[in-house]
Symmetry: D2
Subunit: 342 residues, 4 copies
């Protein structure tokens, strides 16, 4: 059994991690911390976990994190970078679900995240936890930077095209729509039901923090600099990201076959038949990314549709997938739930 700790279990990625870990056959949940809720039973805060998670939130200062084999950070940006060095030194492996270790260029990170980085030396070591790209590196990683939700949907959707060099990779467009849980469990006005329900808007068009992460990921895949226009939108869903991706074709290929072959062995990427339109609900509460490949009107622009559950393949599920790889479990262990539809 893998002894697991979770730092910051009160947000949506935290409670989703708990849902997955509590059902994982190889995991012993050792401790969950929360500064604000220390002493409160987890199941009092999240009644969905009654009878399934017996732990109380522990104070981060006294929680037995060093006794864990693995610690997940489901914390705001800037927390993991302060605590990870000590845990790693103690032999504990770490998966950060926030952004602290996602961007290799520390100066770039500091610009987008508006704080100094606490341990730049670990950034180089950290492995970007997108198994479909980095599986081998994840197996041996001590420290995994779990990808952002938008970057997961966008990179998986563009991966085969960029990897094979078939499209104009300096003018990609990613029009992405996210459910509201993507904004976290924060008491902020714009996330209120009364603001977000029956409403649709773009946000962050001038620049969103996931832009440099996507650029970096696609550039590493391509082997050269890639650029894109990325527009995120808030849509009245609980869960789900739908990325609509536009790429100008520069070299002909059977694109459907390309996608099917690239992802043929991937347990969590499902390429739909030609003509399909994946729905976000078809992956609700599951670790799957479903993708459809379109070439409208047989023109020179490809349209790729890529959907994930932002809390699962876009966060907690992918983190568990990474854990499975790091600890030699079946990659699908604890991740076999069928999507909940309707």
């Amino acid at each position: 059994m893998i002894k697991v700790g979770v730092v910051g279990g009160t947000g949506y990625t935290g409670v989703e991690l708990l849902r997955l870990l509590a059902q994982h056959p190889d995991v012993q949940l050792l401790t969950i911390t929360s500064r604000g809720e220390a002493g409160v039973a987890v199941a009092d805060m999240f009644p969905s976990l009654r009878g399934r998670v017996a732990l109380k939130f522990a104070d981060p200062a006294t929680a037995p994190l060093r006794d864990c084999d693995l610690v997940f950070f489901a914390t705001p940006n800037g927390v993991a970078m302060k605590q990870a060095p000590e845990l790693l030194a103690a032999g504990v492996r770490v998966i950060d679900l926030a952004a602290d270790f996602r961007i290799r260029d520390v100066a770039l990170w500091e610009k987008w995240y508006a704080m100094p980085h606490a341990c730049p030396e670990l950034v180089a070591e950290a492995v970007y936890g997108l198994p479909e790209v980095n599986r081998e590196n994840i197996l041996a990683a001590r420290l995994v930077a779990n990808p952002g939700c938008y970057p997961t949907a966008v990179q998986l959707g563009l991966l085969p095209l960029v990897e094979a060099g078939l499209v104009d990779s300096s003018h990609l467009i990613a029009d992405a729509k996210s459910g509201v849980t993507g904004g976290g469990r924060k008491a902020e006005t714009h996330l209120l039901f009364a603001e977000a329900s029956d409403n649709f808007k773009a946000y962050g068009v001038p620049g969103h923090r996931h832009l440099p992460e996507i650029r970096q990921g696609l550039s590493e895949i391509a082997g050269h600099s890639v650029d894109l226009t990325f527009v995120p939108h808030l849509t009245p869903l609980l869960r789900g990201i739908h990325a609509t991706l536009y790429a100008r074709i520069t070299r002909e290929e059977n694109f459907q076959t390309l996608f099917e072959q690239r992802f043929g062995d991937e347990p969590f990427v499902d390429v739909l038949p030609p003509g399909s339109h994946p729905e976000t609900r078809s992956v609700r509460a599951a670790n799957t990314c479903r993708i459809a490949v379109h070439r409208p009107q047989n023109g020179d622009t490809l349209v790729i549709l890529s959907v994930i559950d932002n809390l699962v393949k876009g966060a907690a599920g992918q983190a568990v997938q990474n854990m499975n790889l790091m600890f030699g479990c079946d990659e699908c262990a604890g991740l076999t739930q069928i999507p909940v539809l309707p």
Copy 2:
């Protein structure tokens, strides 16, 4: 392995049954029928089942239903009563998720359901599949009438009070609110998103088919005639029933303790601590009923709050629970998923 068939797999209770059965450790899914969709792959209709259910919808006329140990009917009212006799005669056990066998008084059934009953002789044999009341009878049943969604939430909420004879059982009130999937997967105008979203209404106030079922159930529990006012409402949820139950106290008791003791051994009924307000999402996609007991202002009226997922404990999950009992499986087999929150 229990060889299982599903008649009518294209509605919401059908696809929910498939979700649960495909993950059940003791079940082999033999056939799924649909007159309208015969030949279509189940996963083409419900992409959430891609990679998990390989069957195609079979024509009911040729499907190997007689080779099954158990057949679920997830059909409209009036179908199971026509096909069950033959299956039972062939040694196949049957669980009907519709209403055909729920009402013992055949004349009353015919009045509310506006059709003649095709096999009144089986009505007497059928066991009403509410395990918290009828567990012993279910174990040996050939034919189980799976309860309605509202009746499940209402009966579980009132059970301890009516059983112990502590309230005025001739003037109970059940104010129940249901998500839209309770109406089934029918192309009807009033179930459209554009009609049901951002809208709330009562319906069926003059009389709803679940009224005689609740009356019968509570009367059997009480050992005498029980009457209630039942008002169902449509609320813009995908899943969930919230029953708010009002009962005038006729004899004092520690009601919280009563509920805790009555349901203490029940795996799927969770009595919340005093002062709680169960949320429908706390049981989303799970087979749990959560109940809270209130006595506002210390008056003479009890308020019981009872929530279920109408598609799980209110339909497919309870059917699987009944199957587990009928076939000697662990009662919780295939029903251990943690609720999906948020």
Copy 3:
């Protein structure tokens, strides 16, 4: 033109007041205050008002409130009671949309609202602004306590029965469901989209502040003490309250006719034909209350269904109706918008 000021224009009742006042033929909007947003253009905060409201939020300390004929308080509880005395002394009339002047028993108010009352002497003078009950008193009022949203829906639904003494008025039941804007525009976790969407729950069952207000109102109508069980619920709507009211008949009457006659001259109460189920969307964005009268199964329990838009007839619209009465306008002035459906 009535010179109008609004104190606290940044909440949902505030912006709704602005929507109605900006279209009112007899109103000149003089000033809108907000401590937190002083200097910000109203239309920058609420783009729906671009081109329609040119004012900036003013600092309450310097806003020309004394130059107004009427000041609306769309503030949290406890604000109006501190500022109203001075305005009234200056000859300005006041409508408080919060609860400061709703409860005549100051000790009771202080218990439920957990603060000392700042001007008990004005409580006696204040007129409870439910025009269907108090129209004559409102005409001459200097200070109007605008009713709460739940109390409006519940009192209008029970008014004819309690007034005529036809039901057991010591055991009334009000099962009420509210949209999320009823909770105000506050950054609180339980009001987040991710908490309230696809979810339904009761709250405040042990006791809600609107209970004493409803009790007081119905008792005054009855001429004797009335008691009820009041259970509010949160439902995933933007706007709307649906009150389902249960009353045991003590004296026979043609209840449908009773309601039609009682409200026949009321411009904003619409009694539906027998057998109807009013939908909240049928009053969306309008000042109407729609009511249906049911006697299920011809038993001894009446079921009254009463719907309003909590922000209009339950708050800002009723306030404008009161203003119309106080200033001799047509009672419907500025309130003739047709509900927005769908």
Copy 4:
């Protein structure tokens, strides 16, 4: 007073037309037809219109359509083209809210709409009713083809750029998201609440009927052939379209100023300040289009955000605006409602 008839008043554009027309100062509503609902009071079907519309649905065969000055067709595609010739011959002017007269190339229309056109000779005469482009022609039109909802949002958002020839007009991208009322009031499974709620999907990616309409409109504006990739999406809103438009810059300009000047005199197009993100709710139930102009990261790709209410500026409101122009009313008559937010 303009004597107005509405053919097909039972869909969402129909009831929205009624909402607007019933409040229009210059309109006398003479008749509303519905084959299926003839004899039913309009307000029985749409209780929001109780007390405001006294008409019953009339049989199309006997309705006094020829006595009208203007007839609106709020019918499925293919109806207006059969009835318009006779009405026009009788001197009645016609606005078709469906697609019958939108596409000048009759063969192209027949391909996309899969039926022969009943009166090709009128197609040439019909004026495309986008006032921001065709105001002069609308003034004198006998027959107006009211634009589709997507085409309205997309054309208004791209109009200044295409008109001025500043972008690569052969590779425009329109990623558009629509609320569910855009699909009409049809009892179809994919429009059910249980299918569309908490779900997001693209549809019609291979080709949507609004594509040729947008192409034609933009080409006429440009004076040469324009091409675009158009991807519509279904999002769980009642009302609202959000078009996210991507255009590669070919000539530098102050784009913000360009938009402000182009639409400066337009009563129903609102260009937001730089950096804005228009929300669909900011135009809910109003005839306004709000637009924001972005140039992310100062790159070579413009991102234009354009929002409308699909039932108002995208259908019924624009039709009333066209009527106002045709009959010499104030262009804003009957269209001054402030958007309903929240």
